[in-house]
């Protein structure tokens, strides 16, 4: 198996999709000739010409044209450079893309894929640091996933583009240039949904997604040092969400912690807790949510680091949950 970084895996998936699906188009700001500000769309323009192109700084035109092209048989894969920028054109995702199939009773469809990336990185300002998955997860008709490994970065994108509905793939720029890992490419298109048990444990279930997964695994390692065995469940697919896997794990461990980088209030962690509570799983302690507190994101790394959950904070909070 070839070894790839997360960013290279996204690029490999795009090449595969352009190859196997002639109806795909890849476009967005700087994604064509320059190959993307993170180099993730490199080589597509050279290899597929007009099917990969740069656009004006017009998110409404990018997303809206993707909806229209998808209604007419294309499978556009468009990039919104930062999730924060989707807010200038959210109408096209929520009021347009998500309605096409339902309102037409399936006579029209909108099989488009929106690639974006989000989260804080050292020095990033409040307008370039938000984690917005919760907004999109409140939109029926829109599929959402958030890969954190090179293999998932590849697999989820392939699945998303093969899906006949609008799918939002939320990547993370701090992962693009991470460690190279073996990635199985060219395999069958995987089904949508499902969870990943990244670590087994009996004392507590930690549900997480996105860039937090790595920090949660670090924390789980540290917790093992104190004799606390945490089960780490990553849910790269958030819509559809694998509630069953979460409930089953919590039923075994009796404790739940949800960890995400997004602000706590109104974050998807609330939905996970509400589903587990609604399922009536008996708990040994009240569930906890670990996320960025309800505040804007300051640019100074020393300030941002004090807000975004890290392994130490996760370890401490989960220890508190288990040891009471």
């Amino acid at each position: 198996m070839p070894e790839m970084t997360y960013g290279e895996a996204v690029n490999a998936a795009l090449h595969r999709l352009m190859e196997e699906l002639p109806e795909t188009l890849v476009y967005g700001e700087d994604v064509g000739v320059p190959g993307g500000v993170f180099g993730v769309t490199r080589g597509l323009r050279k290899q597929y010409g007009e099917r990969a192109f740069d656009t004006p700084i017009s998110e409404s035109a990018i997303l809206g044209s993707a909806v229209g092209a998808a209604m007419f048989g294309r499978r556009p894969i468009v990039e919104i450079m930062w999730a924060d920028f989707s807010l200038v054109a959210l109408d096209q995702i929520v009021n347009q893309a998500a309605n096409v199939r339902y309102v037409s009773g399936g006579r029209l469809t909108a099989p488009l894929t929106i690639r974006t990336q989000q989260g804080n990185a050292p020095g990033a300002c409040a307008q370039h640091s938000q984690c917005l998955e919760a907004l999109f997860l409140h939109v029926p008709g829109l599929r959402v996933c958030m890969p954190s490994t090179p293999q998932d970065a590849y697999d989820l994108l392939v699945t998303a583009v093969h899906c006949d509905d609008p799918v939002l793939v939320i990547e993370n720029r701090t992962l693009y240039f991470g460690r190279k890992e073996p990635v199985e490419t060219g395999g069958p298109v995987r089904p949508m949904g499902g969870a990943r048990t990244r670590r087994e444990g009996s004392d507590v279930t930690i549900v997480t997604w996105g860039a937090m997964t790595q920090r949660v695994l670090e924390a789980a390692g540290a917790l093992a040092g104190d004799g606390i065995e945490a089960e780490v469940l990553e849910t790269p697919w958030l819509n559809p969400f694998d509630t069953g896997a979460v409930v089953a794990s919590v039923a075994r461990t009796g404790r739940l912690a949800v960890v995400h980088e997004a602000n706590v209030t109104g974050g998807f962690g609330a939905e996970v807790v509400a589903r587990v509570a609604g399922a009536g799983v008996p708990l040994l302690a009240p569930p906890i949510r670990i996320g960025t507190p309800d505040v804007r994101m300051p640019a100074a790394p020393v300030l941002a680091q004090s807000l975004v959950p890290d392994a130490a904070r996760i370890t401490g909070d989960v220890r508190g949950l288990v040891k009471g």
């Binding site: 035109a61 209604m71 199939r101």
Partner: protein, 319 residues
Amino acid sequence: MSERRLADLLAMWRIRAFEEKVRDLRTGDPAGGPIVGSVHLCVGQEAIPVGACDVLEPEDALFATYRGHGWALARGVPAEPLFAELMGRASGVNGGRGGSAYFTAAEYGFHGENSIVGAGAPIACGAALAGRHDGSNRVAVSVFGDGAMNQGAVHEAMNFAAAFSLPVVFVCENNRYSELTPIADMVRSPRLADRAAAYGMPGHRIDGNDAEAVRFHVRDALEVAREGGGPTLLECMTERLVGHYIGDAETYRQPGELERIRRREPIARLRAGLLADGVPEREIDAVERRARTEMDAAAEAARQAPLADPATAMEHLYA
């Protein structure tokens, strides 16, 4: 020659008869008739869809607004499933899911109304973009009002279409009002067609109350688009003879305004022209009767049909 003008008259009368029937069904029954909710009629603006749709090819894409009943009819969507849609019947073009302001009928080349001002313009660019890759000769027609010209999405769409020379015809129905506000008060330079120059595309202000003028300019724009010449903006000057929506008190009208605009409304004008050309009056009046009879029957048939079934309300959210 008067053949085509009689055909235009019929097409316009079909739209007007449809709209007037909708108004009666919406307001007739105080208990809340077969049609409820907000409805936007295009009475007075019929010449634009009639002239434009006459020169569209089946493969072309058409995106209208919430004021789109006339565009759907002109594009060939039968009246009965349209009435049914407005009445929330299972037999509606969208089984009642779209309603008056947001229905689609792709099988007839009508790619939908949109009730978000300006949102259809970028979507139309996508339909045109798809045509570049699917080997079709599709042109996408994007319809919106004067007020929509001030919406960011329309600006982005016009630049996007122009920069990539996409085959799009932007049809601006300038009826001089955006809801209850005169467009003249919301722009500094009232000639909206001139905005086309900002994007390097041709723009023309045309008589939107003359189906023949609309037909001529749309045909021309379609040709340019099909030959790779890119988009055109057509500002079609017109007036609505009714409120923005059914129930609009129209307090914004000037004294004598309605009388004035009734004199230049498209049906009255065409009727006068046909008479002047010696077309017998009964022949002309027969056209109106024919349209009204058709619409009465279609509305009645739609009304007889069963309502949408709540048991299906969750279907088709995902593939």
